[in-house]
Amino acid sequence: MSLLSNLRLVSNLVPDTSQSWFRRLTAVEMRDIRDRCPHLGISFNPDAPLGVTPAQMAEHRQQLFWGVRHVDLEAGGRSSAWLEDIAARRFAVLTEEAEQLDEEQLFEVLCVAVPLA
């Protein structure tokens, strides 16, 4: 299993329990689910909202005024914060795990260690 990647493939199908955790999602996540599962009954129509909480509606409404935004790698410590987080979580237990890691996983460790050095 990759140590570095934070990307996955996910199914468009949602489990039966989805209604209970939909209310905890952000408006962005709800829109993604609506786009992938158009028959689920999720609507941000202000006149007839469906399956969304007032907080999700408010967040959605606020995002309509974002306009064109760009996220930069240098903003908010993005270029190093993820490296430090992986190092803190992984390197602390690396000596115990090292024997179980395969060659590619060890190489991923090196990819974190070198930029941090």
Binding site: M1, V71, P115
Partner: protein, 283 residues
């Protein structure tokens, strides 16, 4: 960031050169030693090893290579016993262990380590008849027949699998597929953790799904995203020089991200089926 895995190694020229030199030294004197001060993360590297250890490390790789070779030979309708010649080319073939095992398990007495070209092709001093050039000569001959390059391995993305035992490689281009300029592949990946505002896209290649389930890492691409982002859109494009261009962006908030280019794709040419005379096929 983003950084290239080859650049990472190139950033350690001492390590690369020492590994090469000590590999040769171990074959000569039965032991080698790699020392780099400092190595990484403030640590030094001092690593003595014996030829037996080195042989143990590469033994699995040689077994995999022999398995792959056997599959290719069988796919061509032949068998190791019907091989007329097995031509060895490239520096790795100089390892005694590689030659011994190929001799014992595949080639028998038919291993060839020198080229016997017609005189009219041997016009470069010390050039074309050198066995090290066999691959380049073969590629040139195929190119002269307008053979189109194909991917020699799967190229794709290494993913964080939910199940550790699951294959965590998503192929974008498949081995054997033509590397046609202008080819364009879009893909979308779910971001499992956007807390740090980056999506970590791992470009990898995979020669064999059994032995390399997650592929071999080529490049780590770090894409800035909004911390509420859930999807990363990625475009893979083969340009006129057959380099792979990758662009990526968050789906809801655009990423300020310049395209990255991978210039050294593992390309090859489709080899025509070997015509083995019926009498040589055996049982």
């Amino acid at each position: 960031v983003p950084f290239d895995v080859d650049e990472l190694l190139d950033g350690q020229p001492a390590l690369r050169l020492q590994a090469e030199a000590q590999k040769i030294e171990a074959a000569r004197s039965q032991r080698g030693r790699i020392q780099v001060f400092p190595f990484a993360a403030g640590q030094d590297l001092d690593f003595p090893f014996t030829a037996d250890q080195f042989n143990d490390w590469i033994d699995g790789d040689i077994s995999q290579a022999i398995t792959l070779l056997g599959r290719r030979v069988r796919a061509a309708g032949a068998s190791p016993s019907t091989l007329a010649r097995l031509v060895l080319s490239g520096g790795t073939c100089n390892l005694p262990q590689v030659r011994r095992r190929l001799e014992r398990e595949v080639g028998g007495g038919c291993i060839v380590t020198g080229l016997n070209l017609p005189d009219r092709l041997c016009f470069l001093p010390g050039g074309l008849d050198d066995i090290s050039n066999a691959t380049a000569i073969g590629a040139a001959l195929l190119a002269s027949q307008d053979a189109a390059p194909v991917f020699a391995s799967d190229v794709g993305v290494r993913l964080a699998a939910a199940d550790p035992a699951e294959d965590a490689f998503f192929p974008v281009f498949r081995a054997g597929e033509p590397a046609t300029p202008g080819s364009h592949r879009p893909a979308s990946f779910f971001i499992t953790d956007a807390a740090h505002g980056v999506a970590r896209l791992l470009i990898a290649e995979r020669l064999d799904p059994v032995t390399q389930p997650a592929g071999r890492l080529l490049r780590v691409v770090v894409v800035p995203i909004d911390q509420k982002e859930t999807w990363l859109n990625v475009e893979f494009h083969i340009d006129a020089l057959r380099s792979l261009t990758v662009t990526a962006s968050g789906r809801n908030v655009r990423s300020a991200f310049e395209s990255i280019h991978l210039h050294q794709l593992n390309l090859g040419y489709p080899v025509p089926a070997v015509d083995v005379p019926a009498a040589s096929r055996g049982a």
